[in-house]
């Protein structure tokens, strides 16, 4: 119990200090003319970072529990690449369509979900291995198609790179800001929905067959988690591009603090994911002039940690 309270204090401190850094440090400085506009931009960026990091980590934790697979996350499931493709397609269709990139993201994620579902369905049942395999295949395909769409659409290579490697530099207009406000509400609702399924996820973590003998409707739980996750990831990716490793690593970190129960792992993952993504963004935008794609930083932090996990725990 004491360990858990300390864990919570640590995670909240992480998020608070990451937020403070995110507000205080940036290319616009902290004083001078126009600083109120700069601060408004930083607050929006902060909100985007918290939602993106939180959602990716919560979805990663849910998928890992559901699939009993420590490698599951929005990217291994192909949903993030599908969302990136949907957003890219609306972008290359021209500037009128470009305002609807978020919508393209939702559609891309949902279509990917349906395709992965169809591929993974064998004799009326969706198997765990089938899902992961189909997800990996789709993820490769969609990454290539993002590149193809950008090249055919005569867009810069930089755009394709940031779409596939993530950034928090989204510029909001009145319309997209309202859209983002809706995304914030929906994201919190979606994470809440996943949280409400904690008990089922706990049972399913011990194996699909065991869960069924304990009276859990595994097919329904699988479908619900997968649909909610796809919508969440689709919304986030359309604003940030595909950010790697947050969804994969953060849940493991949180389980080390809190143990495997989802009613603690899910909220813990939201807080830790938000904090780690914000810290990564502070590094990405301030260390190199002009900034870096976010996944460079998250991968540099995430991969060593993940190797450690593989060697020591899994």
């Amino acid at each position: 119990m004491r360990r858990q309270s300390l864990g919570w204090v640590g995670l909240v401190l992480l998020l608070v200090s990451a937020s403070a850094l995110s507000i205080a440090v940036g290319p616009g400085g902290i004083t001078g003319a126009g600083i109120s506009s700069v601060m408004n931009l930083r607050l929006l960026r902060l909100a985007l970072g918290i939602i993106a990091g939180g959602v990716l980590a919560v979805v990663g934790a849910s998928l890992q529990g559901l699939l009993q697979n420590p490698l599951a996350d929005p990217f291994t499931m192909g949903v993030a690449s599908g969302a990136a493709l949907g957003a890219s397609l609306t972008l290359v269709m021209g500037r009128t369509a470009g305002a609807f990139a978020p919508v393209g993201g939702f559609v891309g994620a949902l279509v990917t979900m349906l395709v992965v579902y169809a591929l993974a369905r064998v004799r009326g049942r969706v198997t765990v291995t089938g899902l992961v395999l189909a997800g990996v295949i789709m993820s490769f395909l969609f990454s290539s198609l993002v590149m193809l769409a950008m090249i055919l659409g005569r867009r810069t290579l930089g755009e394709a790179i940031y779409m596939m490697m993530g950034h928090l530099g989204a510029v909001f207009t009145g319309t997209t800001a309202r859209l983002f406000a809706a995304v914030v509400v929906l994201s919190i609702a979606g994470c809440g929905w996943l949280f409400s399924m904690s008990r089922s996820l706990d049972i399913m973590s011990s194996g699909e067959e065991a869960a069924e003998t304990l009276g859990v409707d595994t097919q329904r739980v699988t479908k619900t988690v997968f649909v909610v996750s796809s919508v969440l990831v689709g919304m986030v990716v359309s604003f940030t591009g595909a950010i790697s490793f947050v969804g994969l690593v953060v849940p493991h970190l949180v389980r080390m603090l809190f143990g495997p129960e989802h009613r603690r792992v899910l909220p813990g993952s939201f807080v830790a994911g938000a904090g780690i993504l914000l810290l990564s963004d502070v590094l990405a935008r301030n260390v190199v002039p002009g900034g870096l794609p976010l996944s460079i930083v998250t991968a540099l932090v995430g991969v060593p940690f993940f190797i450690y996990l593989l060697r020591s725990r899994l």
Binding site: G26, P27, G28, G29, G32, A33, G34, S36, S37, V38, N40, L41, R42, L44, L91, G94, R95, G98, A99, A101, I151, R155, T156, G158, E159, Y162, M163, H167, G169, A170, V171, F172, T173, G174, T175, A177, R285, P289, G290, G291
Partner: protein, 302 residues
């Protein structure tokens, strides 16, 4: 170093055309077809002059070749080459980003114009095949003038090239120097924001047109622009050089309302981007275009 004897491994070895009986080859490799397409495409134009058969993979060089009156020497170019109008009907060897080596070689060019770093691997292969190349990579307007001279010489139009450069110089020199130099933010992509740094052509064009690029200190050519860095720099003019945002979109950006360019409505889109990005004969038109935008009063009588 690879040896020539192992020719079977090369896509089309260097001296293949000289050694093998030509009718077979012409049928197999489509040279006849290529020539026929070229003739059909060019309509009334005569066959290319004997001697020079040039392939241009660089839109700006194609413009130079036409500007010095040597367009009919071009036997091949890429899908991106759309100026002048006649350049569209030249046999296409592929995309600027991915020209097809076999199509180029099948045209038996005596000179291939290309650019780096885009065509590096192609350059190596053409060197192996002993096909002469010219690498276009001008760094500034002076280098464009030199390039026009060189290309004109290569296609046998030295005098025309010299007079073209002279007239471009006169036009450039006639642009007055402006007492005020507004801060300019150039946007080449909206998602994420990307701009042009100090080492780019557009940066020099802005300077010549009496403007200051707010990202001139960037070491990268086309860096990602942090939105708050743009707000902080407070540009007086914003140029949108990409199709996915309009003036209206930028005016509505959250947090951008305080930027001088937004307050004063000095945001411009739908500019002729080729004038600003192609280091060719129309580059001075690009400077004039920018000067008119940045200094509407001063350039009225100009």
């Amino acid at each position: 170093m690879k040896t020539r004897s192992g020719a079977g491994h090369d896509p089309i070895p260097a001296k293949y055309w000289d050694r093998v009986p030509s009718p077979v080859l012409q049928c197999c490799l489509g040279r006849v077809l290529a020539t026929a397409l070229l003739l059909v495409g060019c309509g009334q134009r005569t066959t290319p002059e004997p001697g020079l058969r040039a392939v241009s993979l660089v839109p700006s060089v194609t413009e130079i070749v036409y500007a010095v009156g040597a367009g009919k020497m071009l036997v091949g170019n890429t899908n991106q080459e759309d100026f002048p109008e006649a350049a569209k009907t030249v046999y296409k060897v592929g995309d600027f980003m991915s020209p097809d080596l076999e199509r180029i070689v099948a045209l038996r060019p005596s000179l291939v114009f290309l650019t780096l770093p885009m065509h590096r691997s192609l350059l190596e292969k053409l060197a192996e095949l002993k096909i002469p190349t010219y690498v276009s990579r001008p760094a500034d307007i002076e280098a464009v003038f030199r390039e026009i001279d060189t290309v004109a010489q290569l296609v046998g139009r030295k005098a025309v090239g010299e007079s073209l450069v002279a007239s471009m110089r006169r036009r450039l020199d006639s642009i007055p120097s402006f007492p005020d130099t507004p801060r300019v933010y150039v946007e080449i992509s909206g998602t994420p924001l990307m701009t042009a740094g100090g080492g780019t052509f557009i940066n020099e064009l802005l300077l010549r047109a009496g403007g200051r690029n707010v990202f001139a200190s960037s070491v990268q050519e086309y860096p990602v622009a942090d939105p708050e860095a743009v707000v902080k720099a407070d540009p007086q003019v914003i140029l949108l050089l990409h199709p996915d945002m309009s003036v209206k979109d930028v005016a509505q950006r959250v947090g951008w309302g305080g930027i001088s360019a937004v307050r004063n409505g000095l945001i411009y889109d739908k500019l002729d981007e080729d004038l600003l990005f192609r280091p060719g004969p129309r580059i001075v038109d690009g400077v004039v275009l920018l000067a008119k935008l940045l200094h509407p009063q001063t350039t009225d009588e100009h």
